[in-house]
């Protein structure tokens, strides 16, 4: 499996990373060498194997649906690039 430049552009778009045309080819070569390494996995027959996500097979803990955190909006918004009246500012999305 090796990625075309169009596929690299599509993945970059999905990942919301702006890749300039000059970067596409260099990125393509590096991604393909990494995918070459990953490809070794495909030789193994795993049809009878259950996937593993947590070493202790831990189930997600549940808790009461109750407020446990204090309101720290000011502290959290102090580190935002742009806020106004307690809201995060982004470019206009809906006309």
């Amino acid at each position: 499996m090796s990625l075309s430049t169009d596929q690299v552009r599509r993945i970059a778009r999905l990942a919301r990373i702006d890749l300039g045309e000059a970067e596409i080819t260099a990125t393509q070569a590096k991604l393909n060498s990494i995918l070459g390494l990953i490809e070794q996995m495909q030789a193994v027959d795993t049809r009878a194997v259950e996937p593993m996500s947590h070493p202790q097979e831990l189930a997600q803990r549940l808790r009461e649906d109750a407020v446990t955190e204090a309101d720290r909006r000011d502290a959290f918004q102090k580190i935002a690039p742009a806020t106004e009246a307690g809201l995060y500012l982004v470019p206009k999305v809906i006309e």
Binding site: L3, Q7, V8, I11, A12, R13, L14, A15, R16, I17, D18, L19, T27, K30, L31, S33, I34, L35, G36, L37, I38, E39, Q40, M41, Q42, V44, T46, V49, E50, P51, M52, S53, H54, P55, Q56, L58, Q60, R61, R63, R72, A75, F76, K78, I79, A80, P81, A82, Y88, V90, P91, K92, V93
Partner: protein
Amino acid sequence: MIHASLTELRAALDARRISSVELAGLFLERIERLDPKLNAFITVDRDGALAAARAADTRIAEGRAGPLTGIPIAHKDVFCTEGLATSCGSKMLANFVSPYDAHVVARLKAEGAVMLGKTNMDEFAMGSSNENSHFGPTRNPWDTARVPGGSSGGSAAAVAARLAPAATGTDTGGSVRQPAALTGVTGIKPTYGVVSRYGMIAYASSLDQGGAFGASSADCALMLGAMAGFDPRDSTSLERTPEDYTRALGDGAGGQPLAGLTIGLPVEFFGPGMADDVRAAVEAALDTYRALGARTVEVSLPNARLAIPAYYVIAPAEASSNLSRFDGVRYGHRVAEYTDLADMYAKSRAEGFGAEVKRRILIGTYVLSHGYYDAYYLQAQKLRRLIAEDFRAAFARCDVIAGPTSPTTAWAIGEKADDPVQMYLSDIYTIAVNLAGLPALSHPCGFGAGRLPVGLQLIGGYFAEARLLGAAHRYQQATDWHLQRPADGA
């Protein structure tokens, strides 16, 4: 005092031979003098350290000192520290000041440990050489033309150069053990779930685990004791009774203190690919373990060769999801000019992330994209089980597993910087441990060519941290590799 163990520092502080303020001053002076060359720190918090040291001195005077009260430490810059910059080695977070403390930071603060500053690292913990830091590479104190390993290279170099007596790190694929090996210090990664990930900026959540660096196994045991423990804010934190990680650190020289210990040697870890100088040091260390009474047996981890491919699916997949939070809206870098929201996201992320982080996000995005999930992520999770089962089978025949931590000693800065796959292969002996979620440590076991440190890796079954620390401690009582230090001016 600079070279003293944490136990010796505790005794000196309790006996008032030195105050915590004086001790912090000694290490701050070394950082100021030696770090411009090493670049082990991203942020030094002189005022915060001295204030914490004054509070520690009061606590000691009142007889309320814990094992680490008044002892200077450094945190890897992946751990959020309230009111102090937390960059994660990235331009994306170059101006980020966390509004809260990571669980590990809060625990060590509560213990009265004195934080000197935040250490350099590969951006978002992605790397094996510390060259991927936005703040420039950290240099190896044994040879400043060489890398210290990564991603916790700053913490490892700081402890090796005695800019801090101990430090925290994180280990997703070897990021504590490999830099420990390359800088000649001891580093431990506990069982997955033992140390809370709350406030530890996420890379690959199913593999990330906090760990510690010290000059010795005993120092690591004290650090781990302060860091470990259940935290409801981490959904994969394990609810277990707190442990005393120093409990197996037996004393008394001579004899065969490791009699009854069976060490498994995986054939796959001793094949070609290991440098001759590393092999010689590792073989000599195994002779020492045998002389101390341990028995060695051959074991096999047949699927270990699949660890790197599986890791480079799972880790990038989880990273692409975790790092989607960096969008230039709530925190982090926002590009100066943009046309619309999508353009703002894409340009902020293009400017904020370095090349390796972008590569891993792209790989992760690809393997999770429609139609590829089963072939990649699911297949990798199945291999993960095969790898974990290999370890389970091996531990039926032995108590701990030993081998090299890294196939080579520290390499030259720039040597592998343009070849990601070569860089990935340097973690060949450490990655399988993360996939299985097992505890492991690396301790110094000699020097290779050019007097560069070599590390021995000890891997244990789940929750065998105390046993690993105990075995390494016995080795360190019989040898002095862990007491060797690089020259200050190196």
